[in-house]
């Protein structure tokens, strides 16, 4: 992602002080713990006034939509939360909507199925940004993923505490993926990617799994 942005002449900063946005705690219902991590993250990102680009839809949604709610009674941090939320973008959203770029000149050979992750799609309303970027990748064929908008079953802690249900949802997703005829699965959320890759590994499948930035950074 850094290389793609820099190739467009965008200066990239990364603070090694950043850690976890707190989404696991927030989604688990541990809101005090989530607030602690949110405050830390806000402190780190309040050091700059520049746009913040996140390579994962659910983390971006956490910052954009949940921080201002989570900290609404915190006089000190609520304005920080609103400020940071207003300049936080998921990666494909930043590329297509913010800087208006849909062709990065990448080329990649493969039949790709795109899984639109739930928090990006429904939380941030990202409906075709990723597909637009992928359309312009030379050599990449996009195949339709049946029931693409259905969740992969990850759900954070849900995948551990309700593992069997999560696994059953995953099986559906993988069945659809295999039915699509794709040899490559692309998504923009690292949680979902890890979940689906783990499932494919368990099945012994040959289908490759990649974050969209890995595709866009290939120059053939």
């Amino acid at each position: 992602m850094v290389e793609i942005l820099e190739a467009q002449g965008i200066a990239v900063e990364f603070s090694c002080d950043q850690t976890c946005c707190g989404q696991p705690a927030f989604n688990g219902g541990f809101w005090n713990d989530a607030r602690g991590m949110a405050r830390h993250t806000l402190d780190v990102f309040s050091r700059t006034g520049d746009p913040i680009v996140v390579p994962s839809g659910s983390c971006a949604d956490m910052i954009v939509h949940q921080y201002p709610e989570l900290l609404r009674d915190d006089v000190e941090y609520v304005s920080k939360a609103q400020n940071v939320a207003a300049r936080t973008y998921e990666f494909t959203q930043f590329m297509v909507d913010k800087i208006g770029l849909s062709n990065v000149g990448a080329s990649f050979c493969g039949r790709a199925a795109y899984h639109p992750s739930c928090h990006g799609m429904r939380g941030l309303n990202l409906r075709e940004q990723a597909q637009t970027l992928m359309e312009h990748v030379d050599g990449l064929e996009q195949v339709e993923l049946p029931c693409a908008e259905e969740c992969c079953g990850f759900g954070g802690l849900f995948s551990v505490t309700m593992s069997a249900i999560s696994g059953a949802i995953l099986e559906q997703k993988l069945d659809h993926l295999i039915a699509s005829g794709a040899d490559l699965l692309v998504a923009s959320d690292v949680g979902c990617l890890m979940h689906m890759a783990g499932g494919l590994q368990r099945r012994g499948s040959e289908i490759a799994v990649k974050h969209i930035a890995e595709i866009l950074n290939e120059q053939g």
């Binding site: 820099e6 002449g9 200066a11 990239v12 990364f14 090694c16 002080d17 950043q18 850690t19 976890c20 707190g22 696991p24 705690a25 927030f26 989604n27 688990g28 219902g29 541990f30 809101w31 713990d33 989530a34 602690g36 991590m37 830390h40 739930c118 928090h119 429904r122 939380g123 908008e149 259905e150 969740c151 079953g153 990850f154 759900g155 954070g156 802690l157 849900f158 995948s159 551990v160 505490t161 309700m162 593992s163 069997a164 249900i165 999560s166 696994g167 059953a168 949802i169 995953l170 559906q172 890890m194 979940h195 890759a197 783990g198 499932g199 590994q201 368990r202």
Partner: protein, 472 residues
């Protein structure tokens, strides 16, 4: 086995072991989703109506006491009786006593989730009254001795072969799995019951305050039969199911019907305003409306009050990946799916039902499809938080999360943790993947492999690279 004593997760695991009924549920639920999508595509006003419907629900609940009083006054002015039931026992007692006083031997019912909630059938049967469900789905599960697995389609989990076997066993007919033949069997069986029943019991889709009207929608016509042929009609209504005016009803009905079944209009839309008046040719002699609280008034004052906006269309069940995977019975309550995961603990207490709010990936499909735009994921999160505050989460998770937070607030510890994680996972992994990870996280590797962490974390790579010169 007493399923009531199982935890949600145990019931879900049972359900996962029954693939034929899960297949029926998945096919049925997806069919509902497709029908709705087709109907919405042909109905451009739907989104505007949904916004309007949400406003109506919010307005109604903000002055619920006023609208309830107006509704009750108007039901009585129309010649009906109103009974305010604080809980299930009061509601059941009222109906049982009424049945006794009027010498009712047989009751016919149209589908009503509220009567499922309070288990009215049990109460009536215990008093020696025969109860027959007339909604086809309810009829099927009554024969099977089961509870509804879907708010709208109670027998969604049954295959046609299972229904054929049930009819063969209970109705003295020859086995068939032909849908039309099965329909015909149920129809002719129920016809006699409609004619002989002394009391008809229905639910209420909406009560209309300004007119005291009970609105009831069905597709099979059984609702109209139930409420017009027997001499007594008892309608049971959750106290939140009101709309202020008939004009509001005209907005709520299409929103409900499109969302529920994908129909522009349900086949039978009944507006029942009082019992039979002098000179009218049909209708019941008596109309009783039982308004049920049973925990609802307490929800009004909580952070999940929005769940009372629900109009029970069932759309959130149909799109829910969890519901699709385990079906309705696993939820352990008559209200299943995303709405049930909020409503059940809200109505009956988190102490017993604290697992339900966790039965979600928070994918947001329920919020997206909800006709009233109820933010169900947010309500689930509220209940998860409330459950944790009441120490319902396992100790390892509480401690683990606090430790994780402590680490995440200190970048040095976070980096150290990543390094330890990287070394440990790479040590245990084969070709980059771990087959098993230890408890309490072992659930992950029950169903998927876990990737080893990269040798060098992104932040290490970042620290090592030369500062980039940017042309300004």
């Amino acid at each position: 086995m007493n399923k009531a004593n199982l935890t949600f997760y145990e019931r879900a695991s049972d359900a996962l072991a029954n693939p034929s009924s899960l297949q029926a549920i998945r096919v049925g639920a997806r069919k509902f989703v497709t029908h709705r999508a087709t109907a919405v595509a042909a109905f451009p006003e739907m989104d505007t109506l949904r916004d309007r419907a949400r406003l109506i629900r919010a307005h109604t609940l903000s002055s619920l006491d006023v609208f309830l009083a107006e509704f009750a006054d108007n039901v009585e002015a129309n010649g009906g009786c109103v009974f305010w039931a604080k809980n299930a026992t009061e509601a059941n007692d009222y109906v049982v006593k009424l049945a006794g006083a009027r010498e009712v031997r047989q009751v016919v019912k149209s589908k009503s989730m509220v009567t499922e909630e309070i288990e009215l059938n049990h109460a009536l049967e215990a008093a020696g009254v025969q109860v027959v469900e007339s909604d086809l789905g309810e009829f099927i599960i009554q024969l099977a001795g089961e509870k509804p697995s879907h708010i709208l389609a109670p027998a969604l989990h049954k295959t046609r072969a299972q229904v054929g076997q049930l009819f063969e066993k209970n109705l003295n007919t020859r086995y068939t799995d032909d849908l039309f033949a099965l329909n015909e069997i149920a129809r002719s069986h129920l016809r006699d019951i409609f004619l002989s029943a002394d009391m008809g019991i229905s639910g209420v889709n909406f009560g209309v305050s300004e007119s005291g009207t009970v609105s009831l929608v069905t597709n099979e016509g059984n609702g109209r039969f139930t409420t017009s042929v027997p001499r007594i009609h008892v309608a049971l209504m959750g106290m939140e199911r009101l709309v202020p005016t008939l004009a509001d009803l005209a907005i709520m009905l299409p929103v409900l019907e499109v969302s529920a079944t994908g129909q522009k209009l349900t086949v039978y839309n009944n507006l029942i305003t009082g019992p039979r008046r002098p000179g009218e040719p049909d209708g019941p002699e008596e109309l009783h409306v039982v308004i049920l609280d049973n925990g609802r008034s307490e929800i009004l004052a909580t952070e999940v009050a929005e769940i009372l906006y629900c109009i029970r269309c069932g759309a959130c069940l149909n799109v829910c990946p969890v519901y699709q995977s385990i079906g309705g019975h696993a939820y352990g309550s008559v209200y299943s799916g995303p709405v049930g995961s909020v409503l059940t603990p809200a109505l009956m207490g988190l102490d017993q039902w604290h697992q339900l709010p966790h039965a979600s990936t928070l994918c947001g499909a329920c919020k997206e499809i909800c006709p009233i735009r109820i933010d169900i994921p947010r309500l689930l999160l509220q209940l998860r938080n409330a459950g944790n505050r009441a120490y319902h989460s396992p100790a390892w998770l509480r401690t683990g999360m606090r430790t994780y937070r402590t680490i995440a607030q200190r970048p040095f510890l976070f980096r150290l943790g990543l390094r330890i994680g990287s070394v440990a996972t790479r040590l245990l992994a084969k070709q980059g993947w771990l087959k098993v990870i230890p408890s309490p996280l072992s659930g992950w590797t029950d169903h998927r492999a876990f990737p080893a962490l990269a040798k060098k974390s992104f932040r290490q790579l970042w620290a090592e690279r030369k500062p980039k010169e940017y042309a300004s």
